[in-house]
């Protein structure tokens, strides 16, 4: 009695054999416990491998921007495929540009006013130690306060 080949077992499980081949395999399996066990073993292996491989299933699909150049056809396709993205992209870009402009302007103006305020005034910053200053300990572990003096 000739045993089933691995490829036959695999194709049998996958339902890829012709009706005549299926017939032959089934007849063999009826008389051969060894091959029946092999079929079951292979089936179990396939199930396990599938269960891991299909952990990746149901991925959130991300559509790419299709190219705007080339032809009119592709431009039309783009607008059909992602109508909202195209419309919103322009708006978001302009809003972002205005926001950046306003932010940088306020920053420059603030810098200048601060400089003017500082001119003509002298500021001293000094830290004063608490009474019990221990010279053997690092300065970061000592208590002290910052005082700001203006003239």
């Amino acid at each position: 009695m000739k045993h089933l080949r691995d490829s036959e077992i695999q194709a049998f499980i996958d339902g890829e054999l012709s009706p005549r081949q299926v017939n032959r395999v089934e007849r063999h399996l009826q008389q051969c416990p060894a091959c029946t066990a092999r079929v079951e073993e292979q089936r179990a292996k396939i199930d396990k491998v599938f269960s891991v491989l299909n952990l990746v299933n149901n991925p959130e699909i991300k559509h790419p921007h299709l190219p705007l150049h080339h032809t009119k056809a592709s431009v039309e396709t783009l607008s059909v495929l992602s109508p909202n993205r195209k419309k919103w992209f322009g708006n978001i870009a302009s809003v972002a540009a205005v926001a950046i402009l306003v932010l940088s302007l306020t920053f420059i103006i603030r810098q200048n006013t601060l400089k003017e305020e500082m001119l003509g005034k002298q500021i001293f910053v000094r830290y004063e130690m608490e009474d019990e200053f221990d010279a053997n300990r690092p300065i970061t572990e000592q208590d002290y306060v910052f005082r700001v003096y203006q003239q």
Binding site: S7, Q10, E16, I46, L53, V56, P59, I61, P67
Partner: protein, 163 residues
């Protein structure tokens, strides 16, 4: 709906699933698929593509193989062991993807592609067309690939295999 658009809608999700298993990174996959559909568009302008499905998958697999992420072979299974240590829930999708990609990356490129197509439910005929291998050798190769993958996953101690 024109030809291109219907093809896009029909195959994009499946192409996405296949490429995701091979590359495990959304941005990379989106880039790859953009290239694929650009190539498909310009090719279909020149001449009629007889079997769009096979064509798209063949090109996608090739483009995935060109990608750096695909060629990086992970010899150590550190991510897998890490999952195992966490005793439990590999429910974070990213970890699962990395895990699957690392297990697959232990296989030779052709076998890896076959395993992914098989797991997406392709028929032997489709697989032989896409991979350009003989129909008669699909079963044999698949049987070998399944056994290899099973051993890889088992030796990595992935928890599904402990139950």
């Amino acid at each position: 709906m024109d030809q291109f658009e219907s093809t896009y809608h029909q195959y994009y999700p499946l192409l996405w699933a296949v490429a995701m298993k091979l590359l495990a990174d959304e941005d990379t996959v989106a880039d790859v698929l953009q290239d694929v559909f650009e190539a498909y568009f310009s090719q279909s302008q020149k001449s009629k593509i007889r079997q769009p499905k096979s064509w798209l998958f063949r090109v996608t697999l090739n483009k995935c193989a060109d990608n750096a992420a695909y060629n990086k072979r992970h010899t150590d299974m550190s991510a897998l062991n890490m999952l195992e240590d966490e005793t439990g829930n590999p429910d974070s999708k990213y970890d699962d993807r990395k895990m699957v990609q690392q297990a697959l990356s232990q296989l030779p490129p052709k076998e890896r592609q076959l395993a992914v197509l098989y797991s997406e439910g392709f028929s032997y005929k489709e697989m032989s067309e896409i991979m350009d291998i003989r129909f008669s050798s699909v079963g044999k190769t698949l049987s070998r690939v399944i056994n290899k993958l099973y051993d890889i996953l088992k030796s990595s101690g992935y928890e599904t295999f402990e139950r």
